[in-house]
């Protein structure tokens, strides 16, 4: 089982960023990076713009401008937030494609790993065990 539709992708894969931005420890660090990251998910298709500087997550058109871009299947995104995807290995296998300001994007990676427990907890709290990897 995966995400049923774009709204679910936005709710969970966008939601984790919104939650992180609100976190007392991680939020300020994410904002300080000032990165605008476009995440383009496929199946279901949805594009989210994570503007860390402004602290906003919005659904946008795929052509929207951003500093860095990540493309992956929504399923891969779901696994990533559960700590099951190794970014360089996924990039080598073509499962995750990155472009733009890659250096800044990569510096985000260790911060995002800290969000794994919160993401898993949210899936559990919503009874979405079908999404657990």
């Amino acid at each position: 089982m995966g995400f049923a539709d774009a709204d679910e992708v936005e709710k969970y894969l966008g939601g984790i960023f919104a939650e992180a931005l609100a976190d007392q420890e991680i939020g300020p660090k994410l904002r300080a990076t000032g990165i605008s990251l476009k995440t383009v998910y496929a199946d279901p298709d949805v594009t989210l713009l994570i503007d860390l500087g402004a602290g906003q997550v919005t659904r946008v058109d795929e052509s929207a401008e951003s500093g860095a871009e990540m493309r992956m299947a929504a399923d891969t995104g779901n696994s990533y937030w559960q700590g099951k995807v190794n970014l360089p290995l996924a990039m080598a296998k073509g499962k995750v494609k990155v472009s733009g300001d890659i250096a800044s994007l990569l510096k985000l990676a260790p911060l995002t790993k800290k969000l794994v427990p919160a993401y898993v907890a949210r899936l559990n709290a919503d009874g979405r065990t079908d999404l657990l990897a």
């Binding site: 190794n86 990039m91 890659i102």
Partner: protein, 416 residues
């Protein structure tokens, strides 16, 4: 404030990149004081272009004894959280380090499967091939007569050996070696050529993983008699290597197999010129003395200058209380000049005996698995160079900036 953040930093600062841009001789003036007076010292996090580390400081072990102690206690000093003085994400550690970045029991089981692919038959075949290739390299050097020693000689044999052994297609070798070099050069402006350190490192890593995994895929589909085929087929205790593990091991082998032997060849060639008495001694009885000489080449070079461990439980090292999560850096480059172990450590002495250098590590489970291949290559290339190019003259080496590998980017040479 945590206990760690209240510790004062040592007055001798080994963290700035500038410190690692000087020569080994210059740096050892600092290490020598630390070894003798404070063999474990507390320093600011290493300066560098990667992640801003989430730590207050690092412990630096400079004595032979403490490096050995840390190396031999993997249950207390973990490799799984990173092996570099600078911070890297867990993903990068896992993808780039293979078994280097693992702890027991995972380390042992991975190493066992990988070792099973290095059969005695394969090893003896490698030896003959290395000797033939070393002769061809010196043939070419004698034709060229002058140029960059690294390009003409030192980088060729390790690159050829590691890729020939693996069975990597000829047309992919140059590119793979270039990425392997980039992977350890993130702090060097020349190599980075305008790229951000993290971008350089990740780009090189992803390229190597891609080449390695595609290569493994080709051997799965069509097995040959090479090491990659043996790796994809290897099975110990019902365990086979996953695609990710093979990709990661390919990265490790490409980097560790290329860089270390290349730099030892370059630096030892220069040492043999700087110490003509030692060279003459070696030539008096090459076969009898080359074994000991190679150990000294490795000690002298210290091709890997540092590795790091992370403390898994509160412990005591060198009289200091270490806390869980603390980083401990082992400076092999310092351990190999320890006055309490090596008499006159700055003397290049091919007859040094015993020579318990830490050039292949400080002992314990992570001791360099490829050391025998490195020794075969060094023996073969110096046999050829010293006997067939006796008038080889080399100039000053141009060193790479960084605290990880002691790498020479180029060194001019001529042969008459």
């Amino acid at each position: 404030m945590s206990g760690a953040s209240m510790r004062p930093f040592d007055e001798l600062d080994v963290s700035p990149l500038e410190f690692w841009s000087t020569t080994m001789e210059e740096r050892d003036k600092t290490f020598s004081v630390l070894r003798r007076e404070r063999p474990l010292s507390w320093h600011r996090p290493m300066q560098g272009g990667l992640l801003a580390p989430d730590i207050d400081g690092v412990w630096v072990a400079t004595s032979h004894e403490l490096i050995a102690e840390v190396s031999k206690k993997p249950e207390i000093y973990s490799s799984a959280q990173g092996i570099n003085m600078e911070d890297l994400s867990e993903d990068i550690v896992e993808a780039a380090s293979s078994m280097l970045g693992t702890d027991p029991p995972k380390h042992g089981s991975l190493r066992k499967v990988i070792s099973s692919a290095f059969t005695p038959k394969r090893v003896s075949l490698i030896q003959e091939q290395i000797e033939g290739q070393a002769a061809r390299i010196v043939d070419d050097l004698l034709k060229e007569k002058e140029g960059d020693f690294v390009k003409l000689v030192s980088k060729r044999l390790p690159m050829w050996t590691v890729f020939e052994m693996l069975g990597l297609e000829e047309e992919l070798r140059e590119e793979t070696a270039l990425h392997a070099e980039e992977l350890v050069s993130w702090n060097d402006d020349d190599v980075a050529a305008g790229r951000q350190p993290m971008e350089l490192l990740n780009g090189a890593l992803v390229s190597l993983l891609t080449i390695g995994m595609e290569f493994a895929g080709r051997r799965r589909a069509e097995p040959k008699s090479d090491l990659m085929t043996a790796l994809v087929q290897a099975e110990v205790d019902g365990r086979k290597l996953t695609d990710d593990e093979i990709g990661s091991f390919f990265v490790l082998l490409s980097v560790a197999g290329n860089d270390t032997t290349r730099n030892t060849t370059t630096i030892a060639a220069r040492a043999l010129q700087d110490f003509p008495v030692q060279r003459a001694l070696l030539m008096e009885d090459f076969d009898g003395r080359i074994g000991g000489a190679i150990e000294e080449f490795v000690r002298w070079t210290s091709p890997v200058m540092s590795f790091r461990r992370t403390v898994t439980e509160d412990t005591v090292l060198g009289g200091h209380d270490l806390l869980k999560g603390d980083w401990v850096v082992m400076l092999y480059t310092s351990g190999n000049r320890d006055e309490s172990v090596f008499v006159d450590p700055w003397k290049f002495d091919i007859t040094r005996s015993p020579n318990p250098h830490q050039g292949f590590g400080g002992g314990g489970p992570h001791f360099c698995m490829g050391n025998f291949v490195a020794k075969m290559q060094l023996r073969a290339i110096f046999d050829q160079l010293l006997h067939r190019a006796p008038n080889l003259r080399v100039g000053d080496p141009d060193f790479l900036t960084g605290s990880f590998v002691r790498s020479v980017k180029s060194m001019p040479c001529t042969v008459d």
